[in-house]
C-alpha cells in the first residue's frame, strides 16, 4: 500500500513538474493554460490519491474517513479546476487577447 | 451588582450599539434614546466604580472567571477610575448635543453613526480598564477603527485624512503589538502585573529596552506627539463637528493614559524614567510639541484647524508632565488629562455649534458671532480662558502643577514652553474674541441703502444653535469651571493615590 502510494505521489510530482515547466515554456497565455489546467489537476489527483492511500493504510475507520475527505478534495478540484481554467480563458478572450499563432512553418509537417 | 460595575461600563454601550444597528432598520427614532440611556448607565456605573475605588482601593475583575496570568483581568485603581468617569461624561455630554447636527450631516446613516459612536466609547473605556497588554491592543483597534470611519465621512478632505489617520494609526498599533510581542518573547506573559513581576529577573536586557521603545513609539503615533502628529490636524479639521468634539477630547488623552499605564504598570516607573536614557529626549520632544503646536496654531486661518493644533500642543503638556518624573509634574499631567478632556470638549462643541450655524469655519467669517450666538461664544470664552490658563477655570490648576513640577525638576525649558504656549493661546483666543466681537462691517459699501441695513440688523439678531446643542455646551462650560474649583480636592483625594509612592 505504501509503495503504491509512493508511486502515485511520484507520478503526481512528475505531472506537477510538467505543469510548471509548461507554464514557463509555452509561448502565450492561451497555450499556457493547457499545462496549467490539465497537468496541475492531474498532479493534484495523483498526489492526493497517493496520500489518501497512505492515510488509509491501516484500514481503521477514522483513517478511512480522512482518506475519503482527501478524495472529496479531489472531487472538488475536478469540478472547480476546469471552471477556473475556463474562467481565466474567457477573461482573456474578453480582454481582447488574440491567440498566439505559430510562426511560419518550415515546409510541410 | 457593585462588583459587576467594570463590565457594565463597557457591555452596556456595546450591546446598545448592536441594538441600535438592529432596531434602526425598523424605527429610525430609537437611536438617540438608546444611546443616551446606554451612556447614562455607563456614567452611573463609572461614578459608582470611582466611589468604590475610593473606599476599597484597587479592584480586580476577572473576565471568564480565570485567574490573572491565564485569563484577562480588569484592574481599576485611582488613576483609571477617575479617567473613566471623565471619558464617559464627555461622551455622554457630546451625545446629548449631537442630535441636530447628526440629523443634518448623516441623514440616512444616523443608526450607523450612533452605533459607531458607542463602539468607539466602549473601546476607549476598555482601554482604560484593561490589565492585559494584548487586550489593550484589541480595544485600541476597535476605538481606532470606528474613529477612522467617523472621521472619514466628513466633507472635503475628510476621506483622505481619515485614510492617512488609518495608515498612521495602524502603524502605531502594530508597533505597539510588536512591542508586546517582544515582551511576550522575553517573559512569556501578557498580563501587565505579571510582566512587571517577571521583568526585574531578566532586566539588563536589550530586548526589553527595545520593547519599551516600540510600545512607546506606537502610542506616540496614536497620541500624535510632535514629529508624529501628521495625521491629527486634518483629521480633526475635516471631520463632522460632532465627531471632532468626540474624538479630539478623548483619543489623545486615552492614549496618554495608555502610555502612563505602560510605563507605570508594565515597566516599573524606575525603569521607564531612569534605566532608559529616554527622559531628556522625550521631554524635548514634548517641548517641541508645545512650541510647534502653538506656532502652527497661530498660523491657521480656520477655527477647527487652530483648535486641532492646540490639541497637538496639549499632548506635549501631558507627555512632558509625565516625563518630568516628579510628583507635581505627574499629578499635573493626570489632572490635565481630565481638564483637557473637559475644555477641549467645550471649545470643540462651541466650534461645532458655530460651524453648524455659519457653515464656514474660517476665522474671518466669524465676525459678529458674539452678537448672533452669545451662548456658544460664552462657552468658547470659558474654554479659551481655560486653555490659556486663567485662574477660576480648570486649565490654570493643571498648568500650575505642571509648571511647579518643571521647576522642581529643574527643567526650565519645559516651564518656558508652557508659558510660551499660554501666551500664544492668549493671542489666539483674544484674536478670536476680537473677530467675534466686532460686527461684520460691509467693506466698500459704506453708504448703503435702507434695505441693506435692515438685512444687516436681521443678520445680527440672535441666531443661536438649537437648544439641545446649547444645553450640554453650557453644562460643559460649567464643568470646566467646577473642575477648576474642585481641582485641589481631586488631586488630594484621587490623583495623589494614582501616582506611585516611589515618586518623591
Amino acid at each position: 500500500m505504501t509503495l503504491v502510494a509512493a508511486i502515485f505521489i511520484v507520478l503526481g510530482l512528475f505531472f506537477f513538474t510538467g505543469g510548471s515547466i509548461g507554464i514557463l515554456r509555452f509561448p502565450d497565455f492561451f497555450s499556457r493554460l493547457h499545462p496549467a489546467g490539465k497537468l496541475d489537476s492531474m498532479g493534484l489527483l495523483m498526489t492526493l490519491a497517493g496520500m489518501a492511500l497512505y492515510t488509509a493504510r491501516d484500514l481503521s475507520l477514522p483513517a478511512i474517513l480522512t482518506a475519503l475527505k482527501i478524495l472529496l478534495i479531489v472531487v472538488f478540484v475536478f469540478i472547480t479546476s476546469p471552471t477556473a481554467t475556463h474562467a481565466i480563458l474567457d477573461a482573456g478572450v474578453r480582454a481582447g487577447l488574440g491567440p498566439w499563432t505559430a510562426p511560419k512553418k518550415k515546409g510541410t509537417r | 451588582m457593585e462588583e459587576q460595575f467594570p463590565i457594565i461600563i463597557i457591555a452596556v454601550p456595546l450591546i446598545a450599539a448592536l441594538l441600535i444597528t438592529a432596531l434602526w432598520w425598523f424605527d429610525k427614532r430609537v437611536c438617540l434614546p438608546i444611546s443616551i440611556v446606554a451612556g447614562l448607565t455607563s456614567l452611573v456605573a463609572s461614578v459608582g466604580l470611582l466611589l468604590q475605588v475610593l473606599s476599597v482601593g484597587i479592584l480586580e475583575y476577572r473576565l471568564g472567571g480565570w485567574a490573572p496570568p491565564f485569563g484577562i483581568v480588569y484592574r481599576i485603581d485611582h488613576l483609571n477610575s477617575l479617567i473613566i468617569v471623565a471619558v464617559s461624561l464627555v461622551s455622554l455630554l457630546n451625545l446629548i448635543g449631537s442630535r441636530t447636527i447628526v440629523e443634518k450631516e448623516f441623514q440616512e446613516k444616523v443608526g450607523a453613526f450612533y452605533a459607531l459612536y458607542l463602539l468607539f466609547t466602549a473601546g476607549l473605556l476598555g482601554i482604560l480598564m484593561t490589565g492585559d497588554a494584548f487586550n489593550l491592543y484589541v480595544l485600541l483597534e476597535i476605538a481606532s477603527l470606528t474613529g477612522y470611519a467617523l472621521i472619514g465621512l466628513g466633507r472635503r478632505r475628510a476621506p483622505l485624512s481619515g485614510l492617512n489617520y488609518l495608515f498612521m494609526g495602524t502603524i502605531g498599533a502594530s508597533l505597539y503589538l510588536l512591542g508586546v510581542g517582544y515582551l511576550y518573547l522575553m517573559t512569556g506573559s501578557l498580563n501587565m502585573a505579571d510582566i512587571a513581576q517577571i521583568l526585574p529577573t531578566i532586566l539588563p536586557s536589550k530586548v526589553i529596552v527595545l520593547a519599551f521603545i516600540l510600545c512607546l513609539s506606537g502610542l506616540f503615533i496614536k497620541m500624535a506627539l510632535f514629529p508624529l502628529h501628521g495625521w491629527l490636524p486634518n483629521a480633526y479639521t475635516y471631520s463632522p463637528s460632532v465627531v471632532s468634539s468626540l474624538v479630539a477630547p478623548l483619543t489623545t488623552k486615552v492614549m496618554i493614559y495608555a502610555m502612563f499605564r505602560v510605563m507605570l504598570t508594565i515597566f516599573s516607573i524606575d525603569f521607564s524614567l531612569n534605566s532608559v536614557a529616554l527622559r531628556l529626549p522625550i521631554l524635548w520632544l514634548a517641548i517641541a510639541a508645545i512650541v510647534m503646536g502653538s506656532i502652527m496654531a497661530l498660523a491657521q486661518k480656520r477655527l477647527k484647524k487652530m483648535l486641532a493644533f492646540i490639541v497637538v500642543a496639549e499632548v506635549g503638556y501631558m507627555v512632558g508632565g509625565f516625563w518630568l518624573g516628579n510628583r507635581a509634574g505627574m499629578s499635573g499631567a493626570v489632572l490635565h488629562i481630565i481638564n483637557d478632556a473637559a475644555m477641549t470638549l467645550c471649545v470643540f462643541m462651541a466650534a461645532g455649534a458655530i460651524v453648524y450655524k455659519t457653515e464656514d469655519d474660517r476665522l474671518s467669517s466669524l465676525k459678529g458671532v458674539f452678537r448672533t450666538m452669545p451662548v456658544s461664544m460664552t462657552a468658547m470664552v470659558v474654554g479659551g480662558l481655560s486653555l490659556i490658563g486663567v485662574p477660576p477655570t480648570c486649565g490654570f490648576f493643571s498648568k500650575w502643577y505642571l509648571i511647579s513640577g518643571g521647576m522642581a525638576a529643574g527643567h526650565y525649558g519645559f516651564v518656558a514652553a508652557l508659558l510660551f504656549s499660554s501666551l500664544v493661546n492668549t493671542v489666539l483666543f483674544f484674536r478670536l474674541f476680537e473677530i467675534g466681537y466686532f460686527e461684520p462691517f460691509p467693506s466698500g459699501h459704506a453708504h448703503e441703502q435702507q434695505g441693506h441695513t435692515d438685512a444687516r440688523n436681521h443678520s445680527s439678531s440672535i441666531a443661536e444653535a438649537p437648544l439641545d446643542v446649547l444645553v450640554p455646551l453650557v453644562a460643559t462650560a460649567v464643568l470646566v469651571i467646577v473642575l477648576g474649583i474642585y481641582s485641589g480636592e481631586i488631586v488630594a483625594r484621587v490623583i495623589q493615590f494614582a501616582i506611585p509612592a516611589v515618586i518623591g
Binding site: F78, T85, V93 | -
Partner: protein
C-alpha cells in the same frame, strides 16, 4: 441578441404558471429533501464523529443548507430519471479519467519536447453541439477542458461551443465520442 443570453436559472423567471399551491410546495420539498440527503451523506464524511451530539449538529446544519440553497443545487428540470443519471455518471468517470490521463501524457509530451514551438498550433474553433440540458452542457464543457489539447472558451446556453485547441489534431476529434457519451449519460 438571441435567446442564448438569457440566464438559465430557471427559478427566477419564466412565465408564472397557474399551478396549484400543493404542487408548488411539492416542488420545493423535493429539492429540499434531496439536498438534505446529499448534505447529510457529505456531513458524515466530513465529521467523522458519530455521537448523538454531532449528528444532531449535522441535522441542523443540513437543514440550514437545504433550506438556504436547496433550490440552487437541484434544478427542477433535472429531476427526472435521477438514479439512471447517477449510475451513468459513475460509469462515465473511469472513461473520463482515462481520457484525462491521455490528455496529460499528450501535454507532457509537448512540454518536454525540445521543439515544442513547432508542434503546437493554437487556434480557436467553434462547433454546435446537440446537447440541451445545462447540466450536460456543463459536463461536456468540463470534459473538453480536461481532455487532450482543448479548453472550452465559451458555451452558450444553446450549445454553441467555442474551444481553444493547442494543435490541429486535437480539434478534429470534437465533438466526437465524448458528446455521445455525455448525451447517453444525461438521457438526451
Amino acid at each position: 441578441m438571441s435567446v442564448d443570453n438569457l440566464s438559465s436559472t430557471d427559478t427566477s423567471f419564466g412565465k408564472a404558471k397557474p399551478s396549484a399551491v400543493q404542487s408548488r410546495r411539492a416542488k420545493k420539498i423535493v429539492p429540499f429533501c434531496l439536498t438534505f440527503i446529499i448534505c447529510f451523506a457529505t456531513w458524515f464524511v466530513l465529521s467523522g464523529r458519530f455521537d448523538f451530539f454531532h449528528i444532531a449538529l449535522g441535522i441542523i446544519a443540513c437543514t440550514i443548507v437545504a433550506s438556504l440553497s436547496g433550490s440552487i443545487l437541484i434544478s427542477r428540470r433535472g429531476l427526472e430519471n435521477l438514479p439512471g443519471q447517477w449510475l451513468g455518471f459513475i460509469l462515465y468517470i473511469p472513461w473520463l479519467l482515462y481520457q484525462v490521463l491521455l490528455a496529460n501524457i499528450h501535454v507532457m509530451y509537448l512540454v518536454f519536447h525540445p521543439r515544442m514551438i513547432e508542434l503546437i498550433d493554437p487556434r480557436i474553433i467553434s462547433f454546435k453541439s446537440k446537447l440541451k440540458k445545462p447540466m450536460s452542457l456543463f459536463i461536456f464543457a468540463n470534459s473538453i477542458t480536461l481532455t487532450p489539447g482543448t479548453i472550452t472558451v465559451f458555451v452558450s446556453i444553446t450549445g454553441e461551443y467555442t474551444v481553444h485547441v493547442i494543435d490541429e489534431k486535437s480539434g478534429n476529434s470534437l465533438p466526437g465520442e465524448m458528446e455521445e457519451r455525455v448525451a447517453r449519460l444525461m438521457g438526451e
